[in-house]
Subunit: 289 residues, 6 copies
């Protein structure tokens, strides 16, 4: 005798009750212990679920309803506070299991470092994997003040792991000079400031390939996503980000996994960031899966 | 010995003291009891008035000053808490009186359901009435979880009342599949996502007709209007909404009434939403009346 | 393969998975449509559950752990937005079912009107029912601006239903002169301003009787509960409210049901009100059940 | 055809429409330009009026209703931004007029400096005037960083004007060593930390005298009044401040004028400070007038 | 020549420790006492410094690092609260000293009136000075409610001082009719609504001239800068403002001084406005100096 | 020995410029990576310093001025994000240096785990060390979800290190049953709920001993300290905490070091928590040093 969860929002809206029957698995990675500036993204996945109750199940963008895709919201991976080493191992193990079960992973962060073990697991299954990365920041550091496990390093790690020429970053407007130089020297693609137009140029070159898409919510301008750790002006609009998701939907790449990270609800009293994230996830599900 | 109300803002700035001498009547409809998500728009009209003190009386957009229009701020219609049936009756009766007195109604919501009795009253006076509707949401439901009186239904009600082909919606980015289908099947105009460009195409076709314009503040992107019940990313900018108001001002339609609804101040700590609403109302007065 | 819900908090901490095996049922009543001042308590139950993750399971006050009581969190009763009549019927029906199943109801509001149908249902099962009511407000109005179903009326309704001499109000510091007079004329107990001391005097007179306890969070001073619709200074501390709960625990009355209402999270950025409510509920469970 | 101002709150609740017929005049002094720390009290009077809609008109403390006193809310005195010299002159002139008309002034600040011209005007009419001052701060500076007109100086000014032995400060917990020393050397009464108990001792010694009472909201602990410029922990509760107001009500002094200052709404998202201020003003009206 | 740290006085990221060796001096002008609407910009400089820790030192826009420019953060000029006359004198004297020492001044407000004494000092050294002014407001009033020293007057003052034809305003969307008329009648340039495109047209005409650039953060739309005194919708994006700074960087004008004013942190809970301001200052340093 | 100003690094009011000449050293420990609930205390030290500008330098409680004590604010210890192991080593090394230099350490957290390495260093110098601990939480866990380095463990660690009978906890109102049992079994003192009265009883028994005092700001009720990670109602008032500090000041114990931890500014929009912390530190300096 459990009511429909009208307001409590423990699972993403319209989540399917059966893991076995679902093709997509949604999960949270509530970790924020390596961030160098403002923490709080550990509460991102829970708040995104909570506000998803405000979503319509239909997308007028792609003319599809959530009922048409079976996705299972697995909740948050329990991660040990303050221990990035073990957290990363636990995430990778979880993704290994999902992939072994034939599921498409759709993750919610948490800080961006959580994407590193996910992408590493993906690369085991898809040797030809490419990465599409939308972010305000390069995330190409080797280490941050001596720590190799930092929210500033995940793209560097995956680029070194699968080859920099398989990584495509868009919307970048912040980083160290050395990071941009490293990308240039190693054949990695970086589109500065813009997402939609350069993405449209790149997508045909990736046709047929398995692609993992990782979106840091701070690729949006702070006007559109104030609820994140590092707000950096000069970003894109939510309209452009939606259009970019739809451009991928219309392309010939195969999205084999994806995530949306760095929503930190405490910095956004209006909750627009979490609401935006929940809509982006709806479009990712309906557009890509 | 009453001071000018330097800060208390009980009336919209420059409101004329005489109802009789005014051609326009501004009034609040502080109702939010049928909203399905976040309530609070009952406080919209009061806050819009309060912050209107920060407005200049001159519009550099239309080169006109508030002194050139006589409008009377009648305060808020007293509505019974939690009783939508009686609230709707009271609103309709009030508009009937305004129209009998030859006034142009300019309403402030409150939730969008308040527009239904206003539009119904307008249609009695103007049999040839057309509706211009700017909103993130279709508002075309027949009922919401069994309730025919809901903030999701006003456009459906007026469309059925005056004929769907007389209703023009702009900026719509959210709704049920059935709502979009109903509009299509019944000849109602819906412009998805955009406002200004499609509006410019429609306006000439309405030349000479009496038009009621209803604006839900959530047609704006949450970046521009975080203080509303349902924030939905991918919306238009305040610049585009201002331009849309000015496009109507330059057209040959006759605006016989209008409203601006769904400002919910509590969700916007910076008060930008109420400030924006007060400027939009200034432009509606100076552009349309 | 669903994780423990480390952060998503869809159920109150340590809730038992089986309705059948539980003796207590926790449920939300997410209704706020008749409030006369600031709405938002519809989100109270969800937020109380969400923050309950921060609670210890052990109470050093009563030296007991949550594991010692089987309670089932049933979620929120789905209530029709803006329709108090139907909402009240639905709540009463639900409580009837709980009582028929031999459960002890523990409700979370929502506005205070939700307690009326609960208490009415309780009175059917317990003809000798007494009410202990802690609140800043009398809630003894016959109607509010013409509406008999209002958040200002529930105590009047139950007092007329079971007899005013069976109702004991504590902590009252706000009401109309007529309300206080009505209580006096009809033999209803009202302790103004204080809770703990007068409660200790009354409790022995109720020994052995079935008692329903209804707590409006605004009995607390706004310093201790800013997140509520009507903040009214001069209230009691959370320490005194905890001590009052423990005084009941040590008495010889039989608590046959209870609720905690009027938590409105949006007005409390620090979330202390929801956190306090979750601790009060823990103490109500451990002290009374 | 102007509605009752259900939400717009332009006047304090139940304000009488006629200046002539009223014995008390309520007015705002929206000035905050000399504050040394956090500005914003200029918006205090407007917000206090706005939230007064949430008040009951009856006081269960003194068993009286607002209808029993005729008070006129004159709005805010228009004060020139950034010009304390002229502001002070304008305030004094206004109070002169009120006193000439036989009115009792009840002022709302604004920063505490606004009390200086009021008290100066009072002293002209009442040569035997005494001052009761409740505050966290001594406000006894001669000047603040070279400025003799500062929010840190009003009590010094009035003490020098009417004699320090006629000034009684309560609740003081902050000031320079020199300020405390000056008070001691000059026979001025300062009760450190406490209000109610020392006040009860002083009141009989003032029996029959005309007294002006000036209350800085920061005499309350920040828990009870976060919305003020200078929050300073260790203050009294709102319960104690209410009791202090009622102690004065029961004494034999004649309150010939009073004010409540330093409410700065922007620092208090829950609006408890403005709500508390509005209740304090109700009790000042019902207890003293 | 380091000021006492009146408002916390941390330093802007990468500030050089030596005044003597630096070519640029960064300083705060924490004054907000003449603002007519919402105060709080006195805390702007301190918060901009505090959040500058979140900046990268490299600009991918101009491919330069902060280490390449020697700038000294002198802290905040100590200004007397509530005394605009003396504040203005102190600011002018300070700029005189900076210019005598051969430094380029880079100021942070504070309200816009602080730019007047700076520009006056600049004009003494550079008789051929031109002003580029980006703002939502004309700031061309002669006085504001009788006060010639007001945040609404600085551009009028400098225009009268160096000749209106040497002043170029961009992005203006608010002002009195008389202000626009005065500009027109006196040959002063005003670009309404837009910044980037008209700026690109004007810049070549200023080639070789010494120019002071004054930016009011409210030239940005409130979506991009909610933390300011007067939010006025219809503004430009942070992307456009960055592009405008870079257009100046690529032009042949000589920026001999500049400021960024009106950041009021209290109105922006997410701190995006202060973060944006700190990035704009980084680009001003790297692009212009 | 001034650290880089990792988080803005302004200085506490009246800090002495010379490390060598100072007897007390104030330092921040901006670490929050092991907290299990709400992070953000890393920004505590910087905000406490920032708001200390609002403090008077004189304490009317102990009749002393800050000028009478030489203390040096060393800024924040740079700690590696997400690495508690290294952070703890760095803190202990720093305290070793301070003690070798004959300084009294006064630390600001950061999460409570930072106190562990400080107390460990103290115990090396003072073999007879006792600990006075004020907190809402026992902090006596052996580990937290497998992590021995957690904000829930510092008191357990020091108790095991110096013997549980040398540790005195006050104000405790939250913990696991096992933690209370462990304390009881091992002769450690825990005063539940209260601080002042039990402290007064314990202090004479510690006469002449070197004592380290560690205060978790959450010993205060959330009404008095909403800006902390774990708000737990039923706590003491700021008045009682001040009185407790003064009781220690009047006792015969020797305070050889102390800290105040867990201020997390983001959860307290009014900034009362940081203001309270800054006043507590003033009283600790003036009362104990």
């Amino acid at each position: 005798m459990r009511f429909d969860e009208a307001y409590s929002g423990n699972v993403f809206i319209n989540s399917h009750p059966s893991y076995e029957e679902s093709s997509v698995v949604l999960y949270g990675m509530p970790m924020d212990w390596t961030v160098s500036y403002r923490p709080g993204s550990r509460f991102g996945p829970a708040r995104i679920r909570e506000v998803s109750i405000g979503l319509e199940e239909y997308s007028p963008y792609v003319d599809r309803e959530l009922q048409e895709v079976k996705y299972y919201d697995a909740g948050d991976i329990p991660l040990p506070f303050g221990n990035p080493q073990r957290s990363i191992v636990l995430i990778e193990e979880y993704i290994d299991t999902l992939l072994a079960d034939g599921k498409i992973p759709l993750g919610m962060g948490g800080e961006h470092l959580v994407s590193w073990p996910v992408m590493k697991a993906m690369a085991k299954k898809y040797p030809d994997l490419a990465i599409i990365h939308m972010d305000a920041h390069t995330d190409l550091r080797e280490e941050y003040e001596g720590e190799p496990l930092s929210h500033s390093t995940p793209i560097r790690k995956i680029a070194e792991h699968i080859g920099p020429n398989n990584v495509y970053s868009f919307g970048i407007r912040s980083g160290m000079k050395e990071e941009f130089q490293w990308a240039k020297d190693n054949g990695m693609h970086i589109s500065k400031f813009e997402v939609l137009e350069p993405l449209k140029e790149i997508l045909p070159t990736l046709a047929g390939r398995p692609v993992y898409v990782t979106i840091d919510i701070d690729v949006l301008d702070p006007a559109h996503a104030p609820g994140t750790g590092t707000v950096d002006c000069g970003g894109i609009t939510s309209k452009e980000l939606l259009a970019s998701i739809h451009a991928i939907a219309q392309s010939n790449i195969e999205v084999v996994g994806c995530d949306l990270v760095e929503v930190a609800p405490i910095y956004d009293h209006s909750e627009q960031t979490a609401n935006t994230a929940s809509k982006l996830i709806r479009e990712m599900i309906l557009g890509w899966m």
